[in-house]
Symmetry: C2
Subunit: 156 residues, 2 copies
Amino acid sequence: MAESQLAPERRTLRRFDGDFAWDGVETLVYKEEGEAPFSKITRQLLHSDSGLDCELRFFDIEAGGHSTLERHQHVHAVMILHGEGECLVGDEVYQISPHDLVTVPAMEWHQFKANAGAGLGFLCMVNRERDRPQLPSESELVQLRKYAQVASFLDS
Amino acid sequence: MAESQLAPERRTLRRFDGDFAWDGVETLVYKEEGEAPFSKITRQLLHSDSGLDCELRFFDIEAGGHSTLERHQHVHAVMILHGEGECLVGDEVYQISPHDLVTVPAMEWHQFKANAGAGLGFLCMVNRERDRPQLPSESELVQLRKYAQVASFLDS
């Protein structure tokens, strides 16, 4: 079948539109409403193929927004694509800028925040088959807040 | 262990240096000399982890250079990161620009060329376990050259 007859999401080339959207890539809700706390964040599935054992997603956070604070067995392999912000991984907080690489190991608490006055967009590679995220309990949050920089990040 | 005591390649955050190199990421030869025809291209392994079923690599081609013309069972999931150029996938040639997405299906001939007067850098996600690439035979090259735009690409 000629490339031009394929649905955009099946095409070999999917063009970037200049504003972090792509031909044939739908902008999705980040998670189901009420499932977990998050703010001002969208999800796009850039690469997902039955022949690939991982997916490549793009998450876009508006200034002031954040991903869910969570942990899981599966590893996140991240590259920042645009903007500025911070991420929590374990009990450390990192300032992040375009093209920085972040690895989130299994079962480490993590969260990404666009808390630097700008948006924050990042690629995230994950295994196709993966476990569901866990949210922190009240006592786990108390434990995390014992680290001053973590408390400051959670309140930012 | 404190993050600062880890070897750079084991750290949670590996910073981008502004010129398509990263802390703790080694710049590697693209392939072994003489193994396959290629030109002016390097390889960096950005994300590779025993907990991940794929790897994320970065290939950087100087102006005038190219990757190997090859095919294999494993799928390539590509995002252009900088520069301009063209890629061949199957019997089609595509102009590529930053953040465009390219999918190379199983067993399609493909090649990336920095043939637009600039360098070309791209991310490529692949399965960790994958087959070895095949090079085209003389008769397969003759077959590919029957498409005018492919012949023009191969000579560019």
